[in-house]
Structure formats: C-alpha cells, structure tokens
Point group: D2
Chain length 239, copies 4
C-alpha cells in the first residue's frame, strides 16, 4: 500500500475564520481523508511539529509527500528541506500544491524563481487536459471547472516540464501551466495549481481525483539509487 | 558584438606541470583566444581574483559566461553564485564545461546532484550528433572523435535536458549525454562534457567550433524580464 | 539572404468579398510583402498554379516554406506533398499557419489527426508567451491580443511539441497551444495558430513580427543529410 | 487483464534455418509466451493470415499491439495500417521492436523516415538506463548487456522522443536511442531496439522484462476520445 504523508503549513487555518470554516481540521486533514478513502496509508505533518513532523522515521516511511505552504515558507528549516530533497532524488514522490510553488523545496528542485502572476478575485478557473494519455487525468473529462479560485498567470518561471498535463483558463484573461510533471534523480514530482485556502477547492471531487491519481503516479521508485563516482572499464581499453 | 566572459578556477594549471604545458596561460586564456578569433568580445576571470573576477561591472557586461571548475568548487562564494544565478534567470547565457557539472552554479540551476560515473584512462571519446537541426553543431560532421579523454558515464543526474544534442561513446563501454541544453528564466544554458585538464581537448578544432556555436546560441535574450506578482484582470470579471 | 516561399490555397479570396476586401491580392501577397520588407527574398505560390507553384526549381530555392490552406487540402497532389516532406527532412524550414493544421503536409509530418475544436465568433484571442528564451518571440511583450479571431480549442491532437512558445486564451473559455515548434530530420517546423481569413490578422504588427522571427529561426540547415544504411565499424570488433 | 496481440511478419523463420532454430514457432510465439507467463491475455497474428490477423474483432480486443517486421513491410496492406493507426490514436498501446522501425505503421506515426545506420556483426550491445524513474526499466539494473546483436547507429531519424529511457553502446563505436516513448492521440508508443532474428535476444530475461513492463505502461487508455469540431462557447462572449 502506498504510504502518503500530507504536509501542511497549517497557519491560515489558525488565523482566518473563513479558512477555518472550510477546513476545520486543516487542509492536510481534508487531503489525507480523501486519500485514505482511496486506499492509501496516510499520515499528516505540520510546520509547528518538531522537525516540522518530517523526522527520519516519517520520511523513511513516506512513498509520496504532499506539500501545501504559503505564509511561512521561510520558517521551514533548511536542514529539513535538504532531507526532503535527498529523499526525492532517492525516489520519494513529491506533489506540490498551489502556493507551494514558492516553497524552499520546490525552488530547490526546480532551479528557478518559480515566480508567477496572481490575483485573488474569486474568479472561474477551467483546467483543460492537454495530455489525454496521462494517468494523472484518468477519469477526468476534457476539463475541470472551479467556480472560485485565485488566479495564477504566466509567465510561470519553471524549467520546461517533462509533461504538461493541464493548462488553466482564467476569467480575467490569463492562462497557466496548472498540472506539470518533473523528474529529479529517481523521484517524480507533480505540481498542481489549484487550492487557495479561502475556497473549498479540495472538497471538489475532480480535484481530489487528480491528487489521488498523482499519488499513484508518483509512487516511490523501487530502483536502487544509481552508482556514481569512480567506475572501472567494462570493456578492454586496449586496441 | 557578443560579450563573453570565460571563468576558470585556474588551479590545476598552477600545480600540475602536465596541465601547465598544455595550457601555459590557463584553460581560460585558450578558450578566450579562439572565441576572440571567432569575433566575440572576450574577457577572462578566475577564482583568485577579488569577487572571483565576477564583479557587478563584469556581470553587467557579460552576454555569455563560460564556466570551468574542478578542485575548488567549494571555494566559490555563495554570494557570487547567487549573483550569477540571478543573471542567468535575467537572460545571461551560461556554458558549463566538463567538471563544471559539480559547480555550485550548475547544481543550483539544475536542482539535482549532477553526479555521474568517471574514469581517468586516456581513452577514446566519440561524440555523436543526435540533433542535426541544432545550431550548436553547425559545421560539425556526424561525430567528433577525441583521442584521449576522461570518461564520464551514465547515469548523469540532471533533469531531462530541453534538447539532447550530443551523446558520447567511450571505449570502456559507457555512454553519456555530452551536449545538453536547458532553459532557466530568460536564460539559456549549455552543458558540454569534454575538457579534462590533462588532455589538449580545447586545442581541438571541432571542440572549439562547438563552444563557438554555443556562445552564439546562448547569447543574452533581449527581452524584458517578465512581470511577476499582483496582476489586475485584463478582461471583466463580471458575467 | 533567406529565401522564403509563401504558399496559399487562395480560394477564399476568390469567393468571399469580405476576404477579398481584407486581402485584395491574397493572403500570400500580404505575408510575402511584410517578409520582403523585413529583408527576406520572397516568392509566392498558389494551388491553381502548375504543380501548385512548387516545382523542383522553386523548392530547390526555398529555405523556408510558409503554408496557408483551408478549403482545398484534398486538392493538393500527394506527389507534391511527398516532395515538400522530403525537403523538410533534408533541412527546409516549414511554417504552418492557422487552418493549415489540417493540411496533408502537416498531418504527414506530425503523425496524428491534428484535429481540434473550433468556433467562428469574432472573439478575443490573447496569446501568452510561455518561453521567454525563444527567438520566435523576440520583440514581443508578455502577450499579443487579437481583437477578433476564430477560436481553436484543446485538445489539439499533435505530438508533444519540442517547444511550446505560445498558449492562447479565448473569450469563450478555451485554451490552445498556439505557437509550437517541431523537429523532423534536418528540418524545423513552426505551427502558428492565428490567421482566420475573415479577420485582418496578418495586418497586425505583432503577428507579422512572430512570422518574421519564425522564418529566421526555421532557416534551412546547412548540414549535410546524415548518412544512413550499412556502416562499417569505427572501432575494432576484436576483444 | 491486459490483452496483448503480438504481430510478426514471420518470414525469416520460414526461410532461414538459423532463425528457425532460435524461434521454432516464430518470434511472435516466444514473445507471447513470456507475456502469458507474466499474466497477460495474449494473442498472435502474422502477415500471411487474412487481414494479416488484424481483423476488426482482434483490434477491438487488443489493449497493446506488439510489432515485429523486416523483410515484408511493403506487403502490409495500407488499409490495415490505417486501422491500426486509428486504434493507436484512440488509445491502443503500440510496442515497435527492432526492424519494425521501418514498418509503415511506425513511419506513419512518427512523420519521419525512421532511417538509421546498421551492421550485422554479432557485436556486443550495452543498453544504459538514462531515466531511472521510468516504469519500463523497473527491475532492470544500470544497464543490460546483449552479447551478440546487430548494430543500429545514430543518426536515428525520429522526432524527439517524449522520454528517452535507454541508450545503446556498440562495440564498433556507435550509440543509439534504444528505448524511446512517444504519445500520439490517446495512445502510447514504445520503440525498443533489440531483437535481430539471428540472435536469441527475446530469450534473454532482461529483454523480456522490459517488454513486459512496456506492455503494462502502454496499456490502453480508459479515456473517451476527445471531442473535436464545432464547439459552443462555455463563457459568454458579451463584454
């Protein structure tokens, strides 16, 4: 069974009654709950826990890590970021949600600023499927419509994604690469745009379906880590 | 005229008479010299200079930066790495040579370990052109042969290149992605494998031709940096 | 000097007074005219000419071919399509415009149906730049706005583009991959979406700039065609 | 259960006693046999059967089609090729083996000549894993070694693969993109190089493992075919 750890900063939920009313037990609990139902073995972890809840034992037992953060990216300890980074290169899957685009771990794995345009105006987002072969959109129609979301607009400063699965249309006139896959070392990464804290996005079935599919797609590689460093010749070097 | 700065650690040249005999004035001088002949405006910079020779003025006047380092990656100041990184995102071209795969700047831009297999055995390397449309291999035949080189072997821990231009065959049995392009922000990056300090690789005409082509390809973008942050709607948000 | 041949079906111009009033001498003449001004050596060719104007001599003297067709894709002779196809693999650039997505030559080079959604409703199209490093969008801002265009919507049934340069937003709620590059053999291909015949799209400066840039980018490769077939060993096969 | 049809030209087996001795019941039977053992529901089809064994019923009941051909590519009826092509766009997986690179169906789906260099000299091939995240190489070490194989060398005239999973090293000095994935419509395609008829390649465990993995990866998409053609606006076109 795939073991998922859902990490959440869990700050908006404490400070903003609107967020609290949508996610009474935090975004992480909502996400963990629909993943549990889908048959995954789930755990949650939050910023305020010791080592942000991402201890050696937790990371050893995580096949896929989900990341939601926004206000407190800078409070995440560099040492923890480094541990997560190494785990991804060794094969742990990583799903970065919404404002997690600015998290230390995502920027470190991308090698770019991960900057973008944004606007909070409760506008319609429509995510179009560009890659109908992709398992992450299995069971999803030609698009997903979210009534009210924050806008994220291009240019999105990421490296060229390995696969561009979804592109968003926003009412206000922008587009955005909303579902992107990346490979790093033995690990697979999925960035998924939706999920502003003041809207009930993670309660929407299609959004849950995509995250559920993504966990399965990103599941930890069973390969050994490649051997690096000095290497004896396999063939004779004589002529 | 394209302004190129050739950066070199310049350590092997001071310590190893073999290297000194091949590159009496340093690898940087050899590279700058053939680029000068090709019509570029060139400058060199080395580790031991103040700010490693990469002052504000130098970087402002650099369209393409070439990077050779090996022994002393860790002596490169983080602050300088950060400045180069920002310049690349803003549009400066970057060409990373050989052991520069382990430089701080390349690892930061890639988001991976950039690790690989290696062997110093003076063996034959043959670089095959995989992308005949690419301007970086204009004027190059179907392959380049280098009589004696260090081996680098897969797995090479980089993100999927935007373009895979060259793949190397090594006598001892390995292959390697030897010519790779990457886009980061407004900037273009080319990684080019050959160039071990104890062999006269940068005196070989085809190697010079590829680096010369790469400078032209990587030339600084004339675009403005994209606008990021809050963005007013372009279209009405009313229904 | 780059030699461009602009091919146009030239049927709507004969049948529809609206089209005639926008392009009195045909779409091909308008396109050839701004390319001429940009310093290219231009020629036009149309469906009704012998061999559709694409004789051996014309193709031999074409570095980049531009293709506009719509009503009469099936009237293009297979033999001519085959000749153009071979020229592309040998290094001739190809720029396919708008409804040319359904041309025989584009479908043959893509290997897919090239189907899409469409709607003629004179609605706003906004083309966002996704790849700020690309020479095809040099001199273009963050987006281009076209007041009135036909809508093309995803899913667009093409192979994954080598580079995704532009994505369109449409007023009616769709998105589309509007500027895509592809490599085939020694040749480079650019598909550019805008250009419905009943709107003055090819009179718009930014649209002209992109086509002008694309010609320069797609310019015929100077490489020899690779050698294929039986190949003697380069290295000894003895142990 | 995934339904696999293994298609084989089945000519060498009839004409060449060496091939007959290695594959007494044909290459198709050997491949079908290890796939059956791996738990797939398998069927075989050959050139000489009516409709080459690829009737409407067979294709309707095929999730993944495997293709081996060499001598008789031109004897495959265009009508059958067209049916297979449409099935792939609709979601059927396709695995093309070795000399199948020159089959009508592969060339049609690629849009290129699919040409390459070759040599029959019973030399060593070593296939290196370039993409350790890929499910097609699960259970495979850092490389596979095949003692005796035909050489295929670059340039291989294919479009840029969506994923480059394996690159081959050949004793005689060449490299080759040996494991490549492509997406076309709803369908997934895997090209896998090894399998010259005079060597026992398909009896080798690692080769079998890769083909077995590829079937699972290429399994027919459960998505509906996208809707194409005229499309009503989703959003109001009024300002």
């Amino acid at each position: 069974m795939v073991k998922v750890t859902v990490w959440n900063e869990n700050r908006h939920e404490q400070k903003n009654p609107v967020v609290k009313s949508i996610y009474p037990n935090g975004i992480h609990t909502t996400i963990a709950s629909f993943l549990e139902e889908a048959g995954y073995d789930t755990l949650t972890a939050t910023l305020e826990q010791p080592e942000h809840g991402l201890t050696y034992e937790v990371l050893e037992n995580t096949d896929v890590l989900i990341w939601w953060g926004h206000l407190a990216h800078n409070e995440v300890e560099d040492e923890i970021v480094q541990k997560v980074y190494e785990k991804v290169l060794q094969g742990m899957g990583l799903i970065v949600l919404h404002s997690g685009h600015f998290s230390k771990i995502f920027k470190k794995l991308m090698g770019t600023s991960c900057d973008l345009k944004w606007r909070e105006a409760a506008e319609t987002e429509r995510l179009w499927v560009l890659d109908p072969t992709h398992p992450i959109v299995e069971g999803i129609g030609e698009y997903i419509e979210i009534d009210q979301e924050e806008m994220y607009g291009e240019h999105f400063d990421i490296p060229t994604p390995d696969e561009l699965v979804l592109v968003s249309w926003f009412k206000g006139g922008e587009v955005f690469r909303s579902g992107c896959t990346f490979k790093r070392g033995n690990g697979k990464i999925f960035y998924f745009r939706p999920g502003h804290e003041t809207y009930p996005t993670y309660h929407q079935k299609e959004v849950q379906k995509i995250i559920t599919n993504a966990v399965s797609w990103a599941n930890r590689s069973k390969r050994n880590y490649p051997s690096y460093g000095h290497h004896e010749p396999i063939e004779s070097l004589k002529d």
